[in-house]
């Protein structure tokens, strides 16, 4: 079968064929019979580039996303391992608080192990991360960053935890489209994404319930979901606040896919609620900038 004629025929019955080639993985699957009759090298160059766009970087994308997720999960796992190991020094009360942080630690450790298994199955050996790979003071290795108090202050530690969880949610959300050609990895990433959101919800409740030292600014009602671009955190340190705010930039949107959400459909939906109803993605570059101070 001649590829040119084949595509011409396809175009006759499916005028969107070229759009599909560019962006629609399902249709690409339906085109898979092309590969059985002809090597891609035989395909005209214009067509080849289209195929390349759809297929070419797919596997590299998946590996890159997984390696990125592996870094973030190690960051979280090492953070909570440190927290659980120093409950007394931080001042985490025994009971539900210690229990919740232990549950979260276990999940992050499991995510690390799971991602490593997936990476290995793709022939990738990820970097080795240890506690020494990270600086939870946010000092880029100086161990004297603006979050140093997290090691001895329960409220600061929870503020950092909330920021990590909310960032994790937004990071996975931003990377999901790069996994669209791999059903298994995409689904697993979404499953991790939801677990991180559950963590974020609970950490936020823990912060709200702190009788003192919660760092929740006056006039702010901290909820399990993100209101506008509010971090709900005031550390009293401008540098630390600015660093935290990077994790909430863009969450203030009240319109989705050009549909205004505020008071949509005649319902009384405030801007706060409109923003809360949708979490927003962060790009890899944004997330990298956020976590950079915490990576040695």
């Amino acid at each position: 079968m001649n590829v040119h004629n084949l595509l011409h025929e396809i175009e006759n019955v499916d005028p969107e064929v070229y759009d599909r080639l560019d962006s629609r993985r399902k249709v690409m699957k339906r085109f898979s019979f092309i590969g059985k009759t002809l090597a891609l090298a035989a395909v005209p160059s214009a067509l080849g580039s289209m195929f390349n766009k759809a297929y070419g970087q797919t596997n590299d994308d998946v590996k890159d996303v997984l390696l990125f997720a592996y870094l973030l999960e190690n960051l979280e796992a090492e953070f909570y391992k440190g927290v659980v190991g120093t409950f007394a020094a931080i001042g985490v009360p025994a009971g539900p608080a210690q229990g919740a942080l232990t549950v979260i630690r276990d999940h992050e450790v499991a995510h690390v192990a799971f991602l490593k298994t997936v990476l290995n199955s793709l022939g990738v050996t990820p970097p080795v991360y240890t506690a020494a790979s990270f600086d939870f003071t946010g000092g880029n290795g100086s161990r004297m960053g603006p979050f140093a108090a997290a090691a001895s202050n329960y409220g600061v530690m929870l503020a950092v935890a909330q920021t990590f969880e909310d960032t994790g949610v937004r990071a996975y959300k931003g990377q999901a489209p790069r996994l669209i050609n791999n059903n298994d990895v995409l689904t697993a990433a979404l499953q991790i994404h939801a677990v991180e959101a559950r963590h974020a919800s609970h950490i936020r409740q823990m912060r709200r319930n702190l009788a003192s030292g919660s760092l929740v600014p006056a006039g702010v009602t901290l909820q399990p979901w993100i209101t506008l671009a509010q971090s709900g955190i005031d550390t009293g340190n401008a540098g630390a606040n600015a660093a935290i705010q990077m994790s909430y930039a863009g969450e203030e949107v009240v319109s989705q896919a050009t549909v205004p959400i505020t008071n949509i459909g005649g319902a009384v939906i405030s801007a706060n609620e409109a923003s809360e109803a949708f979490d927003e993605p962060l790009t890899k570059a944004q997330v990298t900038a956020i976590v950079d101070p915490f990576v040695v």
């Binding site: 629609r24 539900p96 799971f114 949610v169 949509i264 609620e273 109803a277 979490d279 993605p281």
Partner: protein
């Protein structure tokens, strides 16, 4: 609606034109590629958008979610209708002993679910399924236990539904939209679970029936037929989902 106009080439094309074109070309293509199975034949019998309406839901017809990405968006719209109707009732007839904090949270969740429902309705336009006829006869709205248990079931199911539907979407834009919503559902789920039993926010072992994996710390993920089988308790309409993508 820009969201559904991804391949817009002419300024004056309407949303319906685009959807019709998309469905038509998909059908033709399925036939051409020799992969047209029963589902494609069914689609050709029910109109361009794959959407049948059955206003009373009592007949042998039902509410057809349609096919492709539109079908998945309608699937999400159906679930959001259910959640929004539930929380609307919860706030209209608060259970005895609802404290201020619970009232604040449940009102917010109601508003989020209404926002989700209305968003899908607006985005789907003429491809949207009808409003569903809900059946909450199994819920005791005066009982905190009954209401919160149902809320937990809905939220956990919603999370599993979105997680399982992601791979069925073709459009990366829709995938991102679904991602924006599912994490909010997960935030709700965690909160509701904590209201029932503090610390149960991510009890993945209890979520195993919804596809969660404790060893790998993965939340639930279910396919549409699995989700709809559970949700059918709360809907009088028969929901036709057999044209939805399966992979």
């Amino acid at each position: 609606m820009e969201i559904l106009n991804r391949t817009k080439k002419e300024g004056d094309r309407t949303l319906l034109d685009d959807l019709a074109q998309k469905e038509l070309s998909r059908r033709k293509f399925l036939r051409f590629s020799g992969m047209a199975g029963a589902s494609a034949l069914v689609i050709s019998g029910v109109g361009l958008t794959g959407c049948v309406r059955d206003d009373d839901g009592s007949g042998t017809d039902g509410v057809n979610l349609g096919s492709g990405d539109i079908g998945i968006l309608n699937y999400a719209y159906a679930l959001e209708q259910l959640e929004a109707a539930f929380y609307t009732q919860v706030m209209a007839t608060p259970y005895s002993g609802m404290n201020a904090l619970e009232g604040e949270y449940l009102k917010d969740i109601r508003d989020h679910e209404i926002a989700h429902r209305e968003f899908f309705k607006a985005a789907l336009g003429t491809s949207a399924i009808q409003g569903l006829d809900v059946d909450f006869s199994s819920i005791n709205f005066s009982s905190r236990d009954s209401v919160l248990a149902t809320a937990k079931a809905f939220e956990d199911l919603g999370v599993a539904a979105y997680n399982g539907a992601g791979k069925l979407l073709v459009s990366a834009d829709y995938l991102t939209l679904a991602g924006k919503i599912v994490s909010v559902e997960a935030r709700h789920a965690a909160l509701i679970r904590d209201l029932i039993s503090n610390g149960s926010f991510a009890d993945l072992a209890s979520l195993a029936p919804l596809g969660a994996n404790t060893a790998n710390a993965l939340d639930g993920a279910l396919n549409p037929p699995q989700v709809l089988a559970i949700a059918s308790t709360y809907v009088r309409n028969r929901i036709i989902a057999n044209n939805l993508p399966t992979s």
